[in-house]
Symmetry: D2
Subunit: 449 residues, 4 copies
């Protein structure tokens, strides 16, 4: 049996979530489903109460002969079949006749799918808690930096001034949105799978629907309209929601990585990994992990979507394609959320570098402001041409934008020096930034998160 | 200029939706945004009313010099920049001074993103209408076939009996779910994009937020908390919802394709494409198109997710990666919905072939029923062994399962012949199928769709 | 530390390959690189010979404090940094001064990338051996069934007759092609990574290139033109080759799965997984695994491609996105190759079912043959129309195609009954099938595999 | 009929290649295949020579009733069926009896696949020419900048010095590799598709193989071992090669974009798109296009791989999923190659900014050099600690690294000031950079490209 995957689980994952996705947790979740089914069948007089007790007593993951189960899974085609055989064996040791009632009327997919849902119910809220914490930190940063002016960048170039508060508010609002959507997707998928071999529930007898209701209730799930063996839209929608989360986290990580480049230095990362050879390096490890997750998630989401067209009542290949894919997707999303939460909590903001960078262009970053003002007087085309000429002069001569603009009679005639000076002040050209930050704060309060 | 793409638009798309996604429609949507912005700015006294009128008069897609716009887009990096230049030129012919007020305070992304939203608002409801119609047809099939017994298949093998009604109900319920989710995703993305160069709205002056509210209202959109130039989660979520729709449609198409195989023949397709060489062939073209869409959608969704980590206030490459990808995704989803709607409306159900196929295994398809009954008497392990032996005998000798079972004293002792006969009747082993169908119908009624 | 992933490694993987990809093997490969580097540096008098000996003595995977390495990897950003620290600690116990010379002049990426290449060199040939064995089996099937006539199917419908030999030859030829391509891609990627921090080899001193040559030689690799820290085309090409392998295996698996459907029964699977509830079921587990791999591989390949645009001399996120993705891709390809090899070796061919199915259409499957013959006499359009009418009559009345054709005077005038009978014999309409099979055999012989 | 897609073809594509992929070119390529088949059949006496002449005369794309073909494609399931019908109609006008001999013995897939191969043969060499030109430019840059010292960056942070020549050589070598691989993949896929309905060539009569040889020769293709209707590995391998090309181009574009950031300014882009609102902006449009292609290609490649598991002799959905996907992939690869070729040809290198940036860290960028030298004297651990302390002092006090190192007695004792000064000179720590550049040049010469 391979021992792959543990070496990277702390690097790419989040310890608490990894525990919920571990082999032990997977096995225990499957056993929990068997226990719930047996308990309900006993309650309803379908199987003996002491059989249900024996099943409950035997259903402990730590007792499972895991190497055998893993080996037999290869020929059975899934883990549930050998796991149930293992459970029956151990139940029989407690109560020989009880073995008959293990998994009675169910199919292996009922157990595997419902166990998956239970694991998601355990793992995803932890991811959401990370997102919530990250959003709160981002909003705190936004409030603290309502007036911290910085360069706004488009195409990786200086464009017009903004504030760091606006940047942080953008992160916060996106985090809030994916927090909400991930919650909806989790609610949506929180349904029992119980259908028997082909979804008719025939093996469960006359009380099938009521059994479903009761098993679902025991496990804290809803009983859906129908079994969903080959209707994977809920699972796929959850995968999608996770993929979108990774995208949002990746965007934040990329921003932070770019803003903390040596030459830009507007943000600093207190932590960061060290280099084996270069003592001066503090590497943005959290950013790298979140970006790595953003690169990996789309392929995993695509796999879950590709697996959807499953045949008949239970398909061939589509369903097993989901198993490790979903687990990996939850895991890297959790790791990414952990990384971004940590990173935002330890980020250092350098307002003075932001100011310095704003001045790099000798004022040319304010060209839009000047152009718009000038356009209302001399027309847009003319304005654009004159301002572009002044900007080029700054480039060529190194003089300030104010001087270059002031040297153009057409501009001076339209805008006096005091006006030009005001137009060249980044702090006077922040538009609705403070108001937008306030809107983000209010949206978060309204949502109550 | 290439002329690619038209040859396949009717094959893979849906005519009405393709019209909404055409180059003309794209251009008109962008112009509509400019008109709305100018109108609002005129209302608020920011620009002259007659300038807004001139802009409105010039904003007709058919007047645009499209080859020039397409050519200049290559150097500008997007279509909006040359389109605005083209619009300014035509506005100036009407009112020279009005050209200054075209696109005043906005950035090209404001126009492109809002136009995209307008196109989605026009196109996606048509997709939803197809899904709704297909769901209704599927529910009608479900009602009509509550008692039409057929083979339930797992791993492409006979498993236990179900009804065709149950199969159709499964399709209907999945269609209803994606109809609802696609609606939510469309609502979610139905927001204005208006942020100016870096999202601060600085170019729009003091009334920026109010302008946003008014432009959004004019266009039938919501004004979101903040501009979302590099926060693409809403767009990505819509892409995901479309991907899940394609998966659900692909599953239905695959089921129909498999059930209409020459050897199975339980469903027939009245239409279908002809073969150029084989007069006897009626090809399941609609199934192929829906399966093709299910194969293509995951890659397109993954692209949109991969594009999410956009840099700073406006990124480099991520955003343009969305454009054709989203359009193509909407288009193939529309085509798939059209194909499945058509296919379900013209499907032929062959109950007699269903019955014939049920009998193919001489009754062995009922092995679960016999095993479960026997297990309660002689224990599960024993039951499984005896039934498996009888099934093997059927395989080897061709005798009926009833005869094989009846030849085993252990079985006969537990279950008399009448019981065995009842256990071997597929119609007696349909579990909760009718009740599940009823649940699906109720769910649809409750939803009011 | 999570324990995820072992439960599924035998199901989806191939034991021998999984061992090569295990955490132990990964660690040992990295240590092997350090040993080779130190040995070469000692040979060239750069580091003391006894330091190299101490490094070699300490470089045993089983001695590594794996939990600590895994935990520290999370803050370091990769596994090599803590692993080297662990190695230094253990080297120092043997020879305190030797610790300085561990990893001397190298960077962590040198170790991780070269170790990856070593693991690929160990694992991929095993996958290729499976492909080769499967190809050989397929060719044997092709030879044995040169004359086994069966239905050729297009769009999941009967089209024209072929032979099972032709089908198997198609599988064999595709397997041979991907066997060859995978070999080329493996050769291509079999290069040393040794560049130091930024690829200049500065840390390795004056003999850097010669050291690279010698380390490469020791490890059985080529020394490439340049280090390739952020140039991932070789790795990506290998990923692609694996993806194409999974596609070819998936196609074979899908064919087998479809041909062994209960209603078709032309192939049987001797092995196959049992069902927990239905004693009669023999599930095509191998097909499901190969199809699952074909569903998963594209997303994994896409991830490796998405990770390619890595920044500067070493990137941010792209590289770590490769690690688990590549391992998983090799693993599932190996599992799929194992499954298909096993499946082809144990497949049962049922020529009698092939014949029966050929007759299902009462001869209509021969419509192309009749049409082509008729067209040369009465023109294509006329021929198509008359044959289509006869085919429809078979459908409606159940009479044989021969009778239907014979009832049409226009046809009878053109083709006498003997001709019609010959045209309706599937064995007379196999075209170049035997010759194509021979070509496949010759291509394999020429290739010498 | 939609008119989508033209608006973006010049933005994302390359005009010459777009022309090869246009609807007209697609239709003409299909017609060319029909002409070649008829000519060969006439040569061999299978069809009348004047029929072949009539077919050749009628086979002009501009005469095709394209709207009808597009509309009928939707019900036929592919474009070839209505196109052949259209051709027959036009052939009949020339020679009524010739219509029978159009497409004689072939199937629509023969025509579509072979036409695709012809289009690839026309389009891909143009992409390769772009790659070759870009590689040549990159090598010229490498030669010109063998001694242009710049910052080497890892994790977006300063690491150790390199030269711009080394960076450019890395680009050149990767471009050369993908140029070669794309050539191999194109050769590999340059095969005829001719198999008839189910790949047996039955419709082509006794001379089928010889017809294939002759048709292939006429079209400049190889005749493969077997028809490959559902064996898509060659097509998939080409798609993969294109995907890897996009990855390599995306890496170059990302490097250039990052190096030309306002704050870094080591590269400049002479061209670049203008902004509608900000006169000072020169946007790196070419970089954006290449990055956009690198984001889109993986999803398109994944789609082609996902489509591989096609059923039986001709599948259901997999094949049509390839059509637009492949075309789009070729198109964006061409556009990306055009953008990068243009960008490299017009790039401005700013050695003085490279020097300035090197000095940003007061010499700390040389910490690896100092550490390695120091380690050989006082041991690695000690060396790392002392150097890290000096680096931290630079950070805190702003003094130079030389001063900070010189203030540490342990360091001074080991390394005298002259040695320290030498160790702190970036030009002395470039390792094998010039030799690596020379290797890249030699590799290109050897390859003869």
């Amino acid at each position: 049996m391979s021992d792959g995957g543990r070496l990277y689980s702390e690097l790419f994952g989040d310890a608490a979530v990894s525990a919920q996705l571990s082999d032990s947790a997977t096995i225990q979740a499957m056993l929990d489903v068997e226990v719930a089914l047996a308990a309900v069948q006993a309650d309803r007089g379908i199987i003996p109460a002491r059989s249900a007790d024996a099943i409950a007593a035997a259903a402990r993951a730590q007792d499972v002969d895991r190497p055998t189960v893993a080996r037999q899974a290869a020929s059975a085609g899934n883990v549930a079949i050998p796991l149930i055989a293992d459970l029956r064996k151990r139940v029989a040791l407690i109560d020989r006749s009880a073995a008959t009632w293990v998994h009675f009327g169910a199919t292996s997919q009922d157990i595997i799918d419902t166990a998956l849902v239970l694991q998601l119910r355990a793992a995803v809220p932890r991811v959401r808690a990370r997102l919530d914490a990250a959003a709160t930190t981002a909003r705190t940063l936004a409030s603290a930096h309502v007036h911290t002016v910085m360069v706004g960048r488009t195409w990786l170039r200086h464009a017009t001034p903004i504030t760091f508060g606006l940047t942080a508010a953008g992160w916060a609002d996106a985090l809030r949105r994916v927090f909400v959507r991930l919650g909806s997707a989790l609610d949506d998928v929180s349904v029992l799978q119980l259908g028997g071999a082909t979804g008719s529930l025939a093996g469960l007898g006359d009380q099938a629907i009521a059994i479903g209701d009761a098993v679902a209730a025991r496990l804290g799930l809803a009983n859906p309209t129908m079994p969903w063996h080959t209707h994977r839209d809920r699972v796929a929608s959850l995968a999608c929601a996770l993929g979108v989360v990774c995208g949002v986290l990746g965007k934040i990580a990329r921003d932070v990585a770019l803003l903390s480049q040596t030459e830009i230095g507007e943000l600093g990362l207190a932590g960061g990994g060290g280099s084996s050879a270069m003592p001066h390096k503090r590497n943005p490890v959290e950013c790298a992990l979140a970006i790595a997750a953003a690169i990996r998630a789309p392929g995993l989401v695509a796999t879950v979507l590709s697996a959807m067209a499953q045949e008949h009542e239970r398909g061939l290949g589509g369903w097993p394609a989901e198993w490790q894919t979903l687990t990996e997707l939850v895991s890297i999303t959790a790791g990414s959320a952990r990384a971004v939460e940590t990173m935002l909590a330890t980020i250092e903001v350098h307002p003075e570098r932001m100011r310095t960078n704003l001045q790099m262009s000798q004022g040319v970053i304010m060209s839009e402001a000047v152009t718009l003002a000038l356009a209302t007087i001399i027309g847009r085309e003319q304005a654009h041409e004159h301002v572009a000429r002044a900007a080029a002069e700054v480039d060529n001569t190194g003089k300030s934008f104010l001087d270059a603009l002031s040297a153009d009679p057409a501009i001076v005639e339209a805008l006096d020096r005091a006006t030009l000076e005001r137009l060249l002040d980044p702090a006077q050209y922040l538009g609705a930034a403070p108001e937008l930050i306030a809107r983000v704060q209010r949206a978060a309060e309204t949502a109550g998160d």
